[in-house]
């Protein structure tokens, strides 16, 4: 994937999140404070705009992701702003200044995102956060690559796994973030951050498959 493919990912993610913003917000209203979709729409639209404008600073895949990370941090707010921002920044750092990213390198970037978020937010798998979508996605991606899959196959596997991970957050009891205040009452609901992660991974698979809008 080259620089423009990463720019396309951000654009596709922004479109998907905008399209699903009210669903994300409704999920957050059930077990949080009802702003997740609004937050991410604001953040991703800002990131997408920043990518379009500042071409010189985003001339490598890594630079694109680092810029997205900074934009998300500066514009999103809430828990998801620093969390997604850190994820994208770490992924961008992992890409260095390579201009064409292969399947293996993209795998390291996704892993770096996971680790960055894990370190920042101190959540564990099973705590009902976006890690419960991102973790399975990273694993599925790597398994696919090890099995000889290309970027198209691996990102599709990641997106599918993120959606399964999202479904698996339903019976979980939230232990991190705002939802944790509700304790037992969080059981039976999807985690909003896991839902947005599934969308972002789906956007990646779509772009990798060359099917982006």
């Amino acid at each position: 994937m080259d620089t423009s493919a990463f720019q396309a990912w951000v654009h596709e993610a922004s479109l998907l999140i905008t399209e699903h913003a009210s669903r994300l917000t409704d999920l957050d209203a059930a077990i949080g404070d009802g702003d997740h979709g609004i937050n991410l729409r604001r953040g991703f639209q800002a990131a997408d705009e920043m990518i379009e404008k500042s071409e010189s600073e985003t001339d490598t895949p890594g630079a694109v992701l680092r810029t997205v990370g900074r934009a998300l941090i500066s514009k999103t707010g809430g828990a998801s702003g620093p969390i997604y921002g850190t994820g994208f920044r770490q992924a961008g750092k992992a890409l260095g200044d390579v201009t064409d990213v292969d399947a293996v390198l993209l795998g390291s970037a996704l892993e770096a995102a996971f680790n960055g978020i894990q370190q920042l937010g101190a959540a564990h798998l099973g705590d009902k956060t976006l890690l419960d979508a991102l973790g399975p996605a990273v694993t599925a991606y790597q398994v696919a690559v090890e099995d000889g899959g290309d970027i198209v196959a691996a990102t599709r596997a990641a997106a599918d796994a993120a959606e399964r991970g999202l479904a698996e957050t339903i019976p979980m009891l939230a232990r991190k973030g705002r939802a944790s205040y509700l304790g037992e009452r969080t059981i039976g609901h999807e985690d909003p951050g896991a839902a947005s992660t599934a969308l972002i991974m789906r956007a990646l698979a779509t772009v990798a498959a060359g099917e982006a809008s």
Partner: protein, 328 residues
């Protein structure tokens, strides 16, 4: 949804324009989104911030004897590090800056990033976490307790310490002491409506209430039934008392969540003072009114702090802010 706003996306900006017009003695930076009283040379500066919708918190507490700057986020959404960094730089008087952070993942992470950035720029920053809400159980395995009413006490008392010349470490220590001595519990009779979504955060039946709510329109720890103010005050105070036994001198706040008339807050205060008297605690200072709200949510929160003579003296020290003023 019926609200006195223009466009939902513009609420924060419009409110800041109004706040600026109403408070010509304060600086409102619309670009970087902070409210400040400018730097005071040699004084430790206090910066707080958080999602909007809790007014007068935090902007209403900027002024002599309390905060130096406040960073309002979008409604119920923590502000971003850029705001906090800009505010921190704007009010640094050379003696360091204390970040007063309510314990929400978003606030914590954003303030943490701001503090790192400020540190990179050579500023001295300390952070103190407010986490006074006893409604959050099992807090060691989770994001921990929320910061609610205790924030008002921390900002007032640490603000007074800074005004008196306490250095950064001492100001932070006072703030932490106040937090350690403060406990809150909230009760909602209705949900609020975030302008951007236009929908209530939860639905309650005609006789249902939420016990142990925070200030963001999220449902509480448990659903309960309407009852007398006396009983509800008892529920809140029992929860506080079993977490931090109450006796001696206490500072009490009966805080309206935004949609409850003041006459009801006085009814609650009567119950609270009866309960505390019955348990051998003495209310030496109090606040009754809307200080940390949750938009138009009906209900109230009760905050109690166990006081020392020193803390009471700092509480009594002059304060001149839009929402709290006495003594000068």
């Amino acid at each position: 949804m019926k609200k006195l706003i223009n466009e939902p996306e513009g609420v924060l900006n419009d409110a800041l324009v109004g706040f600026a017009a109403a408070n010509p003695d304060l600086v409102v930076n619309l670009e970087d989104r902070y409210i400040s009283r400018g730097p005071t040379a040699g004084k430790v500066a206090l910066v707080s911030g958080g999602g909007s919708g809790h007014e007068p918190l935090h902007g209403g507490f900027v002024g002599y004897g309390m905060l130096d700057a406040a960073c309002p986020g979008e409604v119920f959404t923590s502000p971003v590090p850029d705001q906090m960094l800009a505010a921190t730089k704007a009010v640094d008087g050379g003696a360091g800056v204390l970040h007063v952070v309510k314990n929400y993942t978003g606030d914590v992470l954003n303030f943490q990033m701001a503090a790192e950035l400020a540190g990179d720029d050579g500023l001295q920053v300390e952070s103190v976490l407010v986490n006074d809400d006893v409604a959050v159980e099992n807090s060691t395995y989770t994001a921990g307790r929320r910061g609610t009413g205790g924030t008002v006490f921390v900002e007032k008392i640490a603000g007074a310490a800074a005004e008196r010349g306490a250095d950064l470490a001492a100001t932070a220590a006072v703030a932490r002491e106040v937090n350690d001595r403060s406990r809150s519990f909230g009760i909602a009779l209705s949900a609020n409506v975030i302008p951007a979504t236009g929908k209530p955060g939860f639905e309650l039946g005609d006789t249902e209430i939420e016990l142990g709510v925070g200030i963001h329109g999220e449902p509480g720890r448990a659903r309960g039934q309407v009852s007398t103010a006396r009983e509800l005050a008892g529920v809140a105070l029992d929860a506080i008392h079993s977490d931090m036994p109450l006796s001696g001198d206490v500072l009490v706040m009966v805080n309206g969540l935004g949609g409850t008339p003041l006459i009801e807050l006085y009814v609650v205060y009567a119950a609270v003072s009866e309960w505390l008297e019955g348990h051998g605690a003495t209310i030496t200072r109090n606040l009754v009114g809307n200080y940390i709200t949750s938009l138009e949510m009906a209900g109230c929160s009760i905050t109690v702090a166990r006081m020392t003579p020193e803390l009471t003296e700092l509480w009594d020290a002059p304060v001149q802010t839009p929402a709290l003023r006495w003594g000068r």
